[in-house]
């Protein structure tokens, strides 16, 4: 069952808020995780694992390093689901 972009964005916002304390409202598509949302490397790993659980898609480490922005993750999840 494919999720809409908005569903993924909302789910990702919840994850980022839970793990990194960044309000979900700030997790918008154009933001980069490292520079805009100030998320460190270890938290990024935790976010990726939580995203795999929530969306049921695998995010291999090789892919994770290419996912710089919120939109990148949303697009990846949508493509894989």
């Amino acid at each position: 069952m494919a999720m809409s972009e908005q569903e993924i964005l909302t789910g990702l916002g919840e994850i980022v808020e839970e793990i990194a304390g960044v309000p979900a409202s700030q997790v918008s598509p154009e933001k980069t995780f490292v520079d805009d949302l100030d998320i460190d490397s270890l938290s990024m790993v935790e976010i990726a694992v939580a995203a795999q659980d929530k969306f049921g898609v695998e995010i291999p480490d090789d892919e994770l390093k290419n996912l710089k922005t919120v939109a990148d993750v949303v697009a990846y999840v949508q493509k894989q689901s």
């Binding site: 990194a20 270890l42 938290s43 935790e46 694992v49």
Partner: protein, 419 residues
């Protein structure tokens, strides 16, 4: 050439009797115990069911996300460091506070490290596999994690050290920081110790070595009783003590309030037994002698000793013999000794730092808290123990010793001098 004088300019505590310095100090002066019953659902699996829980849980103080990525021992250290930093009149990171980051060090340790994280994450690993193990596990379990977090919080770049020596770790952190400043590596340092080890495995392990109190589970406040004939082991506590130390010159230049001089530190090792103290207190006496020399202090200056005294049958009386051997009979006949652990329990790696702060406050206020639960003084105790009510210290220039000893035969003594 005289050595650089090091002074104490900030204090921070979170302990079983209070969430900060003021509440802890007033509880100790009032003789209030922080020991309560172990109420966890696993309590019945261990023989020691008395515990010194922190009076204020870190989750009430720190933001949720900070708690997620730090072990409880790191949380205590961060809370006490924040209090000490503010108490020293400092705000924000080093540069904002007018401190040179490259001349600013950290020496904060724990005896065990983040053992709650280690055990919790191992459970997760066994149940769910490696990918569900938190990526923060290593920074949470390592004994230098608290030092690392504190160095980042305040931008301390002269070195973030962790001096692991079991129950003397916190005192050794303060000693290390004194040496950092005296040797010219730093002008200012955050130092101390922290511990959060209340877990069934730890209680089982300490009980297995017959180190814990097990006979007063129905009267927790009476379980920790250093120097009493009926003592039967220590009571596990948790929390942290952190101080800000500076060279006197640095403190004066910025107009800092000075609590006391951190005059010297002495180290020794018993080289005798991995758990038991040397029967004559050989290492303890050596550490105190070295500390007096390092402080350029005579025995006559010493009016008070804040004892390590944990309430174990093996340790407490021997320590008083070592005090007598070090200070000589004329000083030992008048020196005033107390055991903070009678009220707080044993904070392990946090103990030496907590008790250093109590020693500093005793010098400042001229009053020594009593040792509670001392109903029947052990005949082997050969110094004057403060009981019944707090004791006044003389006016004028005086100094005090804080002793801390650890498994492995570690002996650390610190000398503080009234400012």
């Amino acid at each position: 050439m005289s050595a650089t004088r090091v002074v104490v300019t900030g204090l921070g505590l979170t302990t079983p009797v209070g969430g900060d310095v003021a509440s802890t100090w007033s509880a100790l002066l009032a003789g209030k115990s922080g020991i309560g019953p172990l109420t966890e659902d696993w309590a019945d699996t261990v023989p020691s069911r008395v515990i010194g829980r922190a009076a204020v849980d870190p989750s009430e103080v720190l933001p949720r996300v900070r708690c997620r990525r730090t072990d409880r021992y790191e949380q205590f250290a961060l809370i006490a460091a924040a209090e000490a930093w503010a108490d020293a009149g400092l705000e924000g990171k080093a540069a904002e506070a007018g401190i040179d980051p490259d001349r600013f060090g950290v020496a904060v340790s724990s005896g065990i490290g983040g053992i709650l994280t280690t055990l919790t994450q191992y459970d997760i690993f066994k149940e769910k596999g490696w990918q569900r193990v938190s990526p923060f596990t290593v920074p949470m379990l390592m004994p230098n994690g608290a030092a690392g977090w504190i160095s980042m919080e305040y931008d301390a770049r002269a070195g973030a050290h962790s001096t692991v020596s079991a129950c003397s770790s916190g005192a050794e952190g303060i000693g290390y920081a004194i040496d950092m400043i005296r040797s010219g590596r730093a002008d200012i340092a955050i130092a101390g110790g922290s511990e959060a080890a209340i877990h069934p495995l730890n209680l089982a392990a300490f009980a297995s070595m017959r180190a814990l109190s097990t006979t007063r589970n129905d009267e927790p406040e009476r379980a920790s009783r250093p120097f009493d004939k009926g003592r039967d082991g220590f009571v596990l506590g948790e929390g942290a003590g952190i101080v800000v130390l500076e060279s006197e010159e640095h403190a004066r230049a910025r107009g800092a309030r000075v609590y006391a001089e951190a005059a010297g530190v002495g180290y020794a090792s018993d080289a005798h037994d991995i758990a038991l103290p040397h029967p004559e207190g050989r290492g303890a006496a050596s550490a105190m002698s070295h500390a007096l020399r390092h402080a350029d202090a005579s025995a006559e200056e010493i009016v008070h000793v804040n004892a390590h005294a944990t309430s174990t049958p093996a340790g407490d009386a021997v320590e008083t013999k070592a005090i007598r051997a070090t200070l000589g009979d004329s000083v030992a006949d008048r020196v005033v000794v107390t055991a903070t652990k009678s009220m707080t329990g044993h904070l392990l790696g946090g103990a030496g730092a907590l008790e250093s702060i109590v020693t500093v406050l005793s010098l400042r206020d001229g009053v020594v808290p009593r040792t509670i639960n001392l109903d029947d003084l052990d005949d082997e105790v050969v110094t004057d123990i403060v009981r019944d009510e707090p004791r006044r210290l003389p006016d004028g220039p005086i100094a005090a010793i804080n002793n801390s000893f650890g498994f492995g035969g570690a002996d650390v003594a610190l000398v503080f001098r009234r400012a």
